[in-house]
């Protein structure tokens, strides 16, 4: 019996400016499914990713997000994570002085302690073995684990670090926020292959992307298009190809959406 992440009529705005961004998003993702979310800049894709993960910069004004029927909107970002939700960041922040390995071990322990308050956490040799396996699987050099979190990482390294975190935490649902952005072809291939290895019957994923090229590696079951804070079109992999070829203008015309403001 797989888990379900269900987003119902979700409305959200930027907490500070009260500018509405999401205007009634509906989406259901089952464990094992791969969903791609496409759409022009400013359509609300990243906001959706952040709202799912519980970023306090955004305020939900209506609707709900249910994880196996339970509303997670009252949970903090940490609780959601421990419940099995993961966000691969578009712009991962730097945490000086904290090694990737150290950080991940605490994250693993936070999960173990949430399940069992008496838990002493994962034994270090066991953790090191596990992390090493994940790094080998993703083709990541072992020295990576000893580096400070995202400090001096190239664009590709940052994204690979996100994928490594995802591999270590084994979420039920992963949202990948433009994990393919800012990468050259080789880096994209490496990251996409990593994502491909992690998708499977145990994980549902929502891949936010501008481009078809990510989807050449990770074949989506469903493709959605977001426009002006709503999902306006859903279909199979062919929809992504169609967008690649024709752009978004036909959808704007169809749904009467305004031209996006210049970035």
């Amino acid at each position: 019996m797989g888990a379900t992440l269900e987003i119902r009529n979700l409305h959200a705005q930027v907490e500070e400016t009260e500018m509405p961004i999401l205007r009634g998003v509906n989406l259901t993702i089952k464990q094992g499914e791969i969903h791609a979310m496409m759409g022009p800049n400013g359509s609300g894709k990243s906001t959706l990713a952040n709202v799912i993960a519980g970023n306090p910069l955004y305020e939900v004004t209506d609707g709900e997000i249910l994880l196996d029927g339970e509303n997670i909107l009252d949970m903090g970002a940490d609780e959601r994570s421990r419940a099995g939700v993961f966000l691969a960041f578009q712009y991962p922040v730097t945490i000086p002085g904290v090694t990737l390995a150290n950080f991940l071990r605490h994250a693993v322990n936070a999960r173990l302690k949430a399940e069992d308050p008496e838990s002493k956490g994962i034994a270090i040799p066991q953790f090191v073995r596990m992390l090493r396996e994940k790094m080998n699987m993703l083709g990541i050099d072992n020295s990576f684990a000893g580096r400070y979190l995202n400090e001096g990482f190239s664009g590709g390294e940052k994204k690979r670090a996100e994928v490594l975190q995802m591999a270590t935490l084994e979420p039920k649902f992963a949202v990948l926020d433009e994990t393919d952005s800012g990468l050259d072809i080789d880096a994209l291939r490496i990251v996409a292959e990593g994502v491909e290895k992690l998708t499977g019957p145990e994980m549902g994923s929502l891949i936010i992307t501008h481009y078809q090229r990510m989807l050449n590696h990770v074949k989506p079951h469903f493709v959605h298009v977001m426009l002006n804070g709503q999902i306006v079109e859903s279909g199979g992999p062919e929809l992504a190809l169609q967008l690649e070829e024709n752009g978004y203008d036909w959808l704007r015309e169809k749904y009467g959406a305004p031209e996006p403001a210049a970035d």
Binding site: G54, L57, D78, F86, V93, K120, D141, N142, G146
Partner: protein, 484 residues
Amino acid sequence: MSEMDFVQSEKELTQEESALRDVRGDYDELYGFHDDDVQYKYVSEPGLDEKKVREISKMKNEPEWMTDLRVKAYHEFLEKPTPQWGGELNEIDYDSIYYYMRASDKAERDWDEVPPEIKDTFDRLGIPEAEAKYLQGVSAQYDSESVYHNIQADLEAKGVIFLDMDSGLREHPELVKEHFGTVIPSNDNKFSALNTSVWSGGSFIYVPPGVHVEMPLQAYFRINTQNMGQFERTLIIVDKDAYVHYVEGCTAPTYSSDSLHSAVVEIIVKEGGRCRYTTIQNWSNNVYNLVTKRAVCEKNATMEWVDGNLGSRLTMKYPAVILNGEGAHGEVLSIAFAGKGQHQDAGAKITHNAPNTTSQIISKSIGKDGGRGSYRGLLKIAEGADNCKSNVVCDALLLDDISRSDTYPTIEIDAKNVTMGHEASVSKIGEDQLFYLMSRGLSEDEANAMIVNGFLEPLVKELPMEYALEMNRLIQIQLEGSIG
């Protein structure tokens, strides 16, 4: 490559894990307790006058030159005005302070000879256990006097001297007389004058030429009595090409009225020698900590101060290095944590008196719950001290909007071809950083602690493992905000 790096990160993990796991309870429970049943052998009445100064000297059977020096210093203390440029010192009530209290007859070499209730205190603080595991010598001071002092026999055989200062004066009068007060004269400042007049305890260390003391020597300073004044005096002489690492720790019971800790530490590092002096200051929040520390370096000598200030009500301490010989190097690494009601006015002073000398100051301060951290630094490059290099970095991290950080750097350069860098930054924990860490399952407290530990990591990794653990643990306690 990777294998090695990975092993290192495993080591870091171990530290961090123990640091987080060991933290239970608060300062009062761990350090803030006091013994009521200690039988003091001698207690001087509160307050100070010349008669008391002479009495302390007489009781210690000191040579006349020391008595005279004490009396001279006492008058200098009276004459010098209270400094108004740093922390708030005007509330110190000198008349209510006990200037001398002795709890045992002498410094023992066997813990079993130490009065049991005092030994219990040090057991509770983990000192004998640490000594057995990773120290080559330990000194334990309780209020005014050392109650325990021991050094491993093999070091003694090599001619290393590690004694409490009183025994040092008795057993090596010429060596002490030659150096005592030469680095920090009694009239250097009001508190060095006070210390010189009433000093008691502290360490006397001599390392002969070429001798490397592999494991640290440690002194632990414990205040037990309310309104206590502790005035230890330390003199370290590192001879040519010798090396020693000296570590000091300190704690006190939590009382509602204030205690005063005013130490003087003088260090002489001769040609090619190296001395590292690590302090983990963890006084309770009713202690004024006013300490003068200074080292002189001869040619190619190195002095490193590693200074962690976590406790006290007010700390004013600026470890100094005077680089007198060509090629000498001075370094100050300073960590300060200022919590509720605390002011850490810390920093460093480095004087380049010779050409081709180098120095580095790294200061990191953290403010929380309205605490105040100040960096006060003096970097002086004297005329003729050409081709010197110096680098100063001071960073502050504030955990809330009510804490405060100030930087007061002073730089005087009178030489040619000087390379110098100065960077200062104040940052706050970013909401984006918290969200990032929390999105991986860490609670807000854990995320904060992780960012703080990361901020301090460049300094903590300079500490030997055991002290790094201790430092992480103490910071964790501070973060939990349980110190009253």
